[in-house]
């Protein structure tokens, strides 16, 4: 037989086998290997995401059908322990798997109205009215999730603190209707904006030490049945949960695809640090928001703004697990306790073009006499960028400073530029002129 014909037959056979395999995986409800993730590893913690991957799709529907069929069997050994293996399969959250769960997932796939349950930031199961309204009121910096899914124009109302602090960063927030005082927003003020048609979704600030202060009131008042309350993570590496869940709740999971790819690229690189060099460096992390020495303070590893640091450094034992700052307060104490290399989160709100100048001024005033300053081993990233959705870029940049043998700083800055161009509302912003120190050398 002609060799070419054989190759063609072989290729067709391979393609056919692959296609059948894919078909079986997608549709064979009798299969017992559905590759479910553990709940801890699940990033889309929405009920209906039966296999725990990053989207709700037909696979989840098939898993639920398979569980129903399996559990009907008289052979107990074929029964599926869905509570253990597929905890998110219970789409309507009624503690049983039946046709109603299939209906809910089908409605999610068809973008039809249904109640969507999810595991919120405060580890409670709450719900939204799927698909959630795209008229969104965001409390404080959870608004960062909106540009991450390229939907900043959905922002229609804000709390009273954000315009005061960030009107230079987020366009239009100073002209938006105010929902109320940060962390004290009331059902009455939300109802008012809902009745006026201004908002249909409220995103609660979940960073720092905020608490779940509004959900119970939303349920008791019945407002949770009218508008949606989105209470998802927005700080540290868990920000990916917030992004994936928000897009899913909006009924367009593709909105999160680009950010997810960008995030996963950086996190893959960070995860490789330990594989390649054994362990991460132990490094002091401090904040800088004043030109006064008395304000030198070290981050704790469990502090909201510092959560990303854990991806690139090990904290000194004194700061492990701490949710608060440790006041260092003098050059003497800093010299005695700080590591040779130091990461600095610059917490002074300024225009990005002024960033390098301000960093030079403050570092010289506070750390001018230290070895770390003279050796230029203080690596600076901006608070505006680091704690939230831009965290992967901050990690990448710090990793390039700390592990130059593994990472290239130029690539890291390009990576930040992608964030600024695609996932932030920073028209014209240049990664090499702000957000992280790129000056000629602060000790000069």
């Amino acid at each position: 037989m002609d060799k070419k014909v054989m190759y063609v037959i072989a290729a067709v056979a391979v393609i056919a086998v692959a296609a059948v395999a894919v078909f079986l995986v997608m549709n064979n409800s009798g299969s017992e290997d559905h590759g479910s993730k553990s709940f801890e590893d699940t990033r889309l913690r929405i009920y209906g995401n039966a296999n725990g991957d990053d989207q709700i799709d037909k696979t989840d529907l098939n898993i639920v059908k398979w569980i129903i069929d399996s559990n009907k069997s008289e052979d107990v050994t074929k029964h599926v322990d869905w509570e253990k293996d597929y905890p998110l399969a219970d789409a309507n959250y009624d503690q049983k798997i039946d046709d109603k769960d299939v209906t809910v997932i089908q409605k999610i796939l068809d973008k039809e109205k249904t109640r969507m349950y999810y595991f919120n930031k405060y580890e409670r199961v709450t719900y939204v009215n799927y698909p959630i309204s795209d008229k969104i009121g965001a409390e404080y910096l959870i608004l960062q999730l909106l540009p991450a899914i390229k939907s900043y124009d959905m922002l229609k109302a804000i709390d009273d603190t954000t315009p005061k602090n960030y009107s230079n960063v987020y366009p239009g927030v100073d002209k938006m209707p105010v929902m109320g005082t940060w962390r004290e927003i009331t059902i009455e003020s939300l109802s008012d904006l809902y009745n006026k048609g201004t908002i249909g979704t409220f995103m609660q600030w979940t960073g720092g030490q905020n608490v779940d202060y509004i959900w119970d009131k939303a349920v008791a008042s019945g407002l949770a049945d009218k508008m949606s309350f989105v209470i998802v993570p927005c700080q540290g590496p868990d920000v990916i949960q917030g992004v994936l869940e928000l897009a899913c709740m909006l009924g367009d999971q593709s909105l999160s695809d680009d950010y997810k790819a960008w995030y996963d690229k950086a996190m893959g690189l960070m995860d490789s640090i330990e594989e390649k060099i054994g362990s991460k460096k132990t490094v002091t992390a401090v904040r800088c928001y004043s030109d006064k020495v008395s304000q030198i303070a070290a981050f704790g590893s469990a502090q909201g703004p510092a959560l990303w640091f854990n991806k690139v450094i090990n904290f000194q034992s004194d700061y492990v697990g701490k949710t608060n700052f440790t006041n260092i307060g003098s050059v003497e104490n800093f010299t005695a306790s700080a590591t040779d290399e130091v990461v600095v989160m610059f917490q002074k709100n300024c225009d990005w073009k002024d960033f390098n100048d301000l960093v030079e001024e403050y570092l010289k005033a506070v750390y001018g006499s230290t070895d770390q300053f003279k050796n230029e081993t203080m690596y600076i990233v901006d608070f505006e960028m680091m704690p939230f959705a831009a965290g992967p870029a901050g990690c990448y940049i710090l990793a390039a400073h700390l592990y130059p043998e593994l990472f290239d700083l130029d690539e890291a800055l390009d990576f930040l530029q992608v964030y600024l161009d695609d996932f932030a509302v920073r028209e014209g912003a240049d990664a090499r002129e702000g957000f992280t120190y790129t000056g000629p050398g602060y000790s000069k």
Partner: protein, 377 residues
């Protein structure tokens, strides 16, 4: 000059007549005048007390009907009536009026009354016009308890009540120290209040250490609690607060005559058969329980405890039989008005009630003391 001379002549005529009158007639004339003066004074005190009570009812009644949502005056009362009779038509409006506005108003009235009687009793017992929950360390103790819970997560109980329980327990510590000093050393009121101030500084320094190292987010939360707010109070907390404050008003009113005796000075009070030390301890313990209860739910609301009794003293004098109840009502009105202003002036954002009390209480107090021109309180 002519008028002065005329008045002088009348006075002279009266005294001349009195010279010729019998001693019984003189006594009768003096008694009549005294009785008349006493009655006028009593009517004035009662009138002021009733005005305060009426103002509390009026302000509460009006503020229920005003908020961010445009709910009509009569509609509000219909909603409350429907809620009472179980005919709730609109669950959301019912929630806004009954679960958001009403408990807030109730909490403001109760807290204002509680803080005011605390200030009133402390000022009388300590014989010090500056005595209030702040200067006796109660607020500092509560503040330290809350700081522990917010910044370090250290609390006596977990969950939603971690701050409340911490604040309550730590609020009582300064009072016990103060009472201990008083009992052990048979100390004077001045020494007790100085002990309270010392404890206040100790707790404040502990709190400051924790704040210095706190996360900015925790600091913001702590600051919000420190300034004081009634917006977090719900019906779950109101009964406890109400029972403590009403019991406090009732009991201190019961002891008002003894408070009057105590206010005359320790030696005089003892000569009149009063157990001065134990009475002082009893009263301070009573009002410290009241204050600890309210501040643990509302945070530290300053000024009401200091100002309310002083303002009332201008109208009803130092007689605790009237001063306690009128201070309670005036404190309730003051805090309710402050909360109303706080939630409407920059609505839908809010100003903390503690800020507003200082804003309106400070100038009002200054104006009144300037008008009063008293050399001492």
């Amino acid at each position: 000059m002519t008028e002065d001379r005329h008045a002088g002549e009348q006075d002279y005529a009266k005294r001349a007549a009195a010279l010729w009158a019998s001693p019984d007639d003189v006594d009768a004339l003096d008694s009549k005048a005294a009785i008349k003066e006493y009655r006028v004074s009593e009517i004035r005190k009662l009138t002021f007390t009733f005005v305060c009570i009426a103002a509390a009812v009026l302000v509460a009644g009006l503020s229920i009907t005003y908020g961010t949502m445009n709910i009509g005056f009569f509609q509000c009362y219909e909603i409350i009536w429907d809620h009472i009779t179980g005919n709730v038509e609109d669950k959301l409006l019912d929630y806004i009026v009954v679960e958001e506005r009403l408990p807030r108003i109730a909490a403001a009235l109760i807290t204002g009354a509680g803080l005011a009687i605390a200030g009133c009793v402390m000022q009388s017992v300590m014989k010090n016009p500056l005595a209030d929950p702040y200067t006796t360390g109660i607020s500092s103790g509560a503040g330290f308890g809350a700081t522990l819970a917010i910044t370090l997560g250290i609390s006596i109980v977990g969950g939603n009540y971690s701050i409340v329980v911490n604040a309550f327990v730590f609020a009582l510590i300064p009072m016990f120290i103060m009472l201990g000093v008083g009992k052990l050393k048979k100390a004077s009121p001045t020494m007790m209040i100085m002990a309270g101030i010392a404890v206040m500084f100790i707790f404040n320094s502990f709190s400051t250490v924790l704040k210095l190292n706190a996360d900015p987010d925790a600091l913001a939360k702590l600051y919000s609690w420190t300034v004081g707010t009634v917006s977090d109070c719900s019906w779950a907390e109101i009964p406890l607060m109400a029972v403590m404050v009403i019991a406090g008003i009732f009991l201190t009113q019961m002891f008002s005559r003894k408070l009057n005796i105590l206010a005359t000075g320790d030696d005089t009070a003892k000569s009149m058969g009063l157990d001065v030390e134990n009475m002082r301890i009893l009263l301070l313990l009573l009002i410290s329980l009241v204050v600890a209860t309210v501040v643990s739910f509302t945070g530290l609301i300053g000024f009401v405890g200091l100002v309310a009794p002083h303002v009332c003293r201008i109208f009803v004098g130092a007689d605790n039989r009237y001063l306690i109840i009128s201070s309670a009502m005036f404190g309730a009105v003051l805090l309710e008005v402050a909360d109303f202003i706080g939630r409407t002036v920059i609505a839908p954002a809010t100003l903390q009630v503690g800020v507003v009390t200082a804003f309106i209480g400070g100038p009002m107090f200054l104006y009144l003391i300037m008008r009063q021109k008293k050399s001492s309180w």
